[in-house]
């Protein structure tokens, strides 16, 4: 009953189906791009052209991951992770949850001041944060099964993301604020960029409270997981 075509949405259907059926994401996205092109009757050469142009335009994306790797690799080869672990084990009060909570506070407040490049997965989480978080657990429980190690690593990456997202958006010079301001102006609505940034603060605080509470409970959660695992292993013996 619509007087417009629903065909452009075919790509979205492909993406959702592909991810649900757990095909390789690279394949899913390529097929979705192809389906979208075919659905709007794009000739194949035009499709290849827009694919190529878009890919060239987005070459800046992998750089942020790529550039720090050589340094991190060299230092890992000479024991950076082990050093980070030694260092955290000297701090007796450190637990996985508390360490991640301190990191969340630092990451969110520096991002709110516009210093987003102080953290990040390649330069902070892999070489320093997750080894420390793992070592804090091992120090206390004298064991670190793989299952728990993976949970700690995932939570370290998650904490970096959450601190970044909900911090950077209250920095007034951040691109998202400019984008919102420009878009609203084009739609005939005037706003102050500073107001948009300020009204982000309640959510930024809520994000810190919610994720911070989860981190404080993370230690007890991990301890329970370890107990369960030990019990299971005993049963198998």
């Amino acid at each position: 009953m619509t007087d417009f075509s629903l065909w452009p949405l075919l790509g979205i259907a492909v993406v959702m189906l592909g991810f649900l059926l757990k095909f390789n994401p690279v394949l899913v996205v390529t097929v979705a791009a192809f389906a979208t092109g075919m659905a709007v009757k794009m000739p194949i050469l035009t499709w290849l052209e827009s694919l190529g142009t878009a890919f060239l335009k987005t070459r800046n994306l992998p750089l942020i991951l790529l550039l720090p790797l050589a340094v991190i690799g060299l230092l890992e080869r000479h024991g950076l992770r082990e050093k980070a672990q030694n260092w955290i084990q000297q701090i007796k009060a450190a637990t996985t949850g508390r360490l991640l909570l301190v990191y969340l506070a630092l990451r969110e407040s520096t991002a709110a001041a516009g210093l987003t490049s102080l953290g990040g997965h390649p330069q902070m989480v892999r070489p320093l944060l997750s080894p420390m978080a793992e070592a804090a657990f091992e120090q206390k429980h004298h064991s670190l099964p793989d299952k728990i190690k993976y949970k700690i690593r995932a939570m370290s990456a998650a904490t970096d993301n959450i601190g970044l997202f909900f911090g950077e958006d209250i920095f007034v010079a951040f691109g998202a604020i400019i984008l919102m301001h420009t878009f609203l102006r084009e739609s005939g609505i005037e706003t102050e960029p500073l107001h948009i940034a300020l009204w982000g603060i309640p959510t930024a605080l809520a994000a810190f409270l919610i994720h911070g509470t989860r981190l404080l409970r993370f230690d007890a959660y991990l301890a329970r997981q370890l107990q369960q695992q030990l019990k299971q292993e005993q049963r198998h013996d």
Partner: protein
Amino acid sequence: MISMTLLYYVAALLFFAVAFFSFKDKRYSSALFWFSYGLIFLLGDFMPPALVGAIVVLMAIVAGFGGVKGGNYQTLELQQRLSSVKRLGNALFIPALMIPLLTVFSALVLVHIKGDGWSLLDPKNTTLSALGLAAFFAVLAALYFTKEKPQQAFKESSRLIEAIGWAFLLPQLLATLGLLFNQAGVGETVSQLTSLYLNLNHPLLAVACYAIGMALFTVIMGNAFAAFPVITAGIGIPLLVLQHGGDPAIMAAIGMFCGYCGTLLTPMAANFNIVPAALLELPDKNAVIKAQAPTALLLLGVNIALMYLLMF
């Protein structure tokens, strides 16, 4: 000076190194993948776009059918690593911390080094060129402290790139898909659909629809910036601002955060969710999303409440 083109050439060099090591290791499909990636970074600007598109399709097929496999790189034994730790002490932290600190310093201070039509950093991509500069000096420092040869730096970056594997391609491929969606008019279709079917008289319902719409459309597109114009034009402005008289600054600020809740939940935001899982060598590629989901869902609820209480 440190232009994007220069950084693309550096990236090409790093990808060619991966291709070289995987070729030597007789993993030919991996070598083909990384060589093609390097080629696009080196010569992309001189190739016809359709050819670049064809190479991308080839890379996607190689990666999609499991052709990009991890390598075997020799690492030092634990004993040797610990003696390195003993020898180097806190100096090990210096190059690692140089990357973030020097990036921030360059982006805030060195950005002012410029002359007529010349500047040290690329003014349009300050952060990336600052990161490039920081990474360069950090590599020099790391080589100095560890007394390794420069070849080892290439070997180490190749080791980590291969650990990430096909996930490396995903962020760029998804951004490409987003641009294609735009060309095909996906945004217009969604906002026509929402304005056709949504007729919400109660402000709380309208707020919830806008907030959940932002989160859901971000889950689909993988990017809150792509969802914001579509959902704000389709639901936000006509319903919340014009019909119910809400404050547009509050709607925008909290609405974007609802989108970020969606970002935390979706494999489409590969550079935040899937790539870190690969980088941290997690067997479950959705492990980071699972760790984020409770925070994201609770926060979405809080956002709906905040928007309803503050906007009217």
